[in-house]
Symmetry: none
Subunit: 419 residues, 2 copies
């Protein structure tokens, strides 16, 4: 089977000048790889007709699919649509569906459609429009000489929705891509090098049509097994067997199978056990509550949070004893345990968790440097506290702390699973 090659072209001076980081290409690279399309090149160019035309000419020599993002805004520095119209020797015409979509977006905001936005519904006659239900710039799908060209907006959530709903399914059909199945095993609290050592013998024994990828993330390393074949059922069974073998090698470090986030996995665990939870947050400042509530349906188990940034709030709302704060400080095992226990009682939940630490960049002392963080878990039977030591980056300290609490919940609930 011939490999299908893709090239990604991103248009916009903001990428070249470093004003924004191009995260679209990585997202597209991931999704294209999943359906068996190989990205050969990513090209970022400026909003210039010559640069766009040259990039298209070069890309079609290397690739079967050319995916273009950016330059579709309503202002005059956005040239992509006009350049594509000329490139494919066609002309603009009104696309009624696109106009309806734009009108719908503006009527939700109770604003009349401006002339500039109305012009966005005029598309090259030679293209098949790609609907954009989240923004005002429709996408365009062109076919020429067996090559596919797709132009999409640079706004990430609009592009992602269009790729998922329309572009990827159409590409799979057009190129009759092989069966590709992925299995994702998400690990936590194990460094990549340790993981690689534990998995080495098994990895070497994998058959050639099954590949393993290590994908490090903030919350751990995702392991992705990719199988390629002709029979989906057989392939799926083979992959399941490999996953079973993998699980036996690292039984304590897997928090989920599939592309779900740690907070979703914890949410499923709480739902399954019919437990409720509340958070008392100092250094995480609401991020933990935000992670819980970012999951649809979290109101079934997440009750609420007290963000106790000021020490008065720790005393008044979470009933931390003033003498504890005086004797041990806000960043201490004693304080964080009281916070977890008391938020549980206050919100009448099964579980309470708490954080207190020095996120930085200021506030460190020789005994408690920046990155010194206490976390705690409390339920009706026990209270567990843990000391974390991170580095100097405030936002990472906050993020890592929230993830450590989620992992502490997972570990605290785990023993019951084996009963």
């Amino acid at each position: 089977m011939e490999a299908v090659n893709a090239e990604i072209i991103t248009i916009g001076d903001e990428i070249l000048y470093g004003q924004i980081v191009d995260t679209n290409s990585a997202w597209m690279g991931t999704e294209l790889t999943k359906v068996g399309i190989r990205v050969k090149q990513i090209t970022s160019i400026s909003d210039s007709a010559l640069a766009i035309t040259t990039a298209l000419d070069d890309a079609r020599k290397r690739a079967d699919v050319i995916l273009i993002t950016g330059g579709l805004g309503p202002t005059k520095d956005d040239l992509t649509k006009n350049v594509l119209t000329a490139y494919f020797r066609t002309e603009l015409q009104l696309d009624q569906q696109s106009l309806d979509d734009v009108t719908a977006i503006f009527s939700r905001r109770s604003i009349a459609v401006s002339e500039l936005n109305r012009q966005q519904a005029f598309l090259p006659a030679a293209c098949t429009p790609v609907r954009n239900v989240l923004g005002t710039a429709p996408g365009m799908w062109f076919e020429e000489d067996g090559k596919i060209f797709v132009s999409m907006p640079g706004v990430p959530f609009e592009m992602q929705r269009m790729m998922t709903d329309t572009v990827l399914p159409k590409l799979k059909v057009y190129f009759k891509t092989p069966e590709i199945i992925h299995k994702v095993v998400q690990t936590i609290a194990i460094p990549e090098s340790t993981l690689a050592e534990r998995l080495e013998a098994w990895e070497v024994s994998l058959p050639p049509h099954i590949k393993l990828a290590y994908l490090p993330h903030l919350n751990g390393v995702r392991l992705r097994l990719t199988g390629q074949g002709t029979d989906a059922n057989i392939l799926n069974e083979e992959l399941e067997q490999q996953v079973t073998a993998l699980v036996k090698l690292i039984p304590d470090n897997i928090f989920a199978f599939g592309e779900i986030k740690l907070e979703e996995a914890i949410g499923l665990l709480l739902k399954e056990k019919q437990l409720t939870i509340a958070t008392a947050e100092s250094c995480t400042g609401g991020l933990l509550a935000h992670k819980f509530t970012s999951v649809p349906g979290s109101s079934a188990y997440f009750t609420g949070s007290v963000v106790a940034y000021h020490n008065d709030v720790k005393v008044q709302e979470l009933h931390v004893k003033p003498e504890t704060l005086q004797l041990h400080g806000a960043v201490s095992e004693e304080t964080v345990k009281q916070m977890a226990e008391n938020v549980r009682l206050k919100f009448k939940t099964d579980i309470g968790v708490a954080t207190s630490g020095i996120a930085g960049p200021d506030g460190g002392t020789p005994e408690k440097p920046v990155g010194t963080i206490w976390i705690a878990y409390a339920d009706k039977d026990k209270t567990i506290a843990r000391l974390l030591n991170y580095n100097k980056n405030r936002l990472l300290n906050i993020e890592y702390t929230a993830l450590a609490v989620l992992n502490l919940i997972r570990q605290s609930l785990a023993p019951t699973v084996e009963e």
Copy 2:
């Protein structure tokens, strides 16, 4: 003055397959722009001799400076050095300084230099080595036909140190670069198309050496003015005058000058006015508190938050009247006003803000569909509530609501500025 054009080439399959996001190019783009070098293209390719050679041939047609990152590791899939040696028709020879640097790094770790790492000190005879004091792969500076080619490792902190210490200073001298100055004006609550209409006449009147760019973000459109000239003082004054003219056209929609986030701008405003704030969050679920506390030094004005996800918490902790919930529901002007007023009293702050809405994807009704969200602001003089209508994406609804509250704070505090 002739513009100096640059091209960035990043080498490595991990970027093409989306396993890592290419942040190096954005960093380099920012730094090159600052010294007046214009990035014309960023090209990401795989570790293949043909791909590298083709990219170099294409890049030298467009650019005066070609900056290459990646593919300098010690393993056999790293080809860059050998490809460059062939490309410049030269041969490898030992560079003693590089060997000393590698040896120093290993002796700090108390490890002997491996043969693979020793080989990294062999460099093409035609290059000027670029020292890497943080890693084992030295950089290489080539000059040919008035073009500069620089190869650096892909490890971000190594590349950044080499750029800052060696490459950027050498480029400034080599190309005698012009002065370039940027001014950023951050707008909010005005769509890009409306903005473009309001600014059109002024934008058209800009002198040719000053350019305007629209950079849309979740929280609004950043406007960036870029001027190029020979005298930094004169140029800066010209740009300041243009910014003054711009401000007059959209006086109510500017929240900051320069590269800062909305929550930082609000933090500065609260600090300046010596005001404290607390949040009562239902649908934002802690995100608002997280935004406030992500800013260093926010403990000076942010006191805490009650995340009242369950209605019992709204009654018990925020003293929302049960009859209000029964009569108007949790998502109502009455409820959200009580939440804002009562969290302010509870935490003894100057300002209280609140959110209550249906983030989705479930929980909508015909009268209150998903995306129906109430927000409120309360201080000693007034309580202001506002109804928001968003679409169906849960995470975006949460994000936009938090930004809308920050903007409501800005607007509520604004009149006092003009007193």
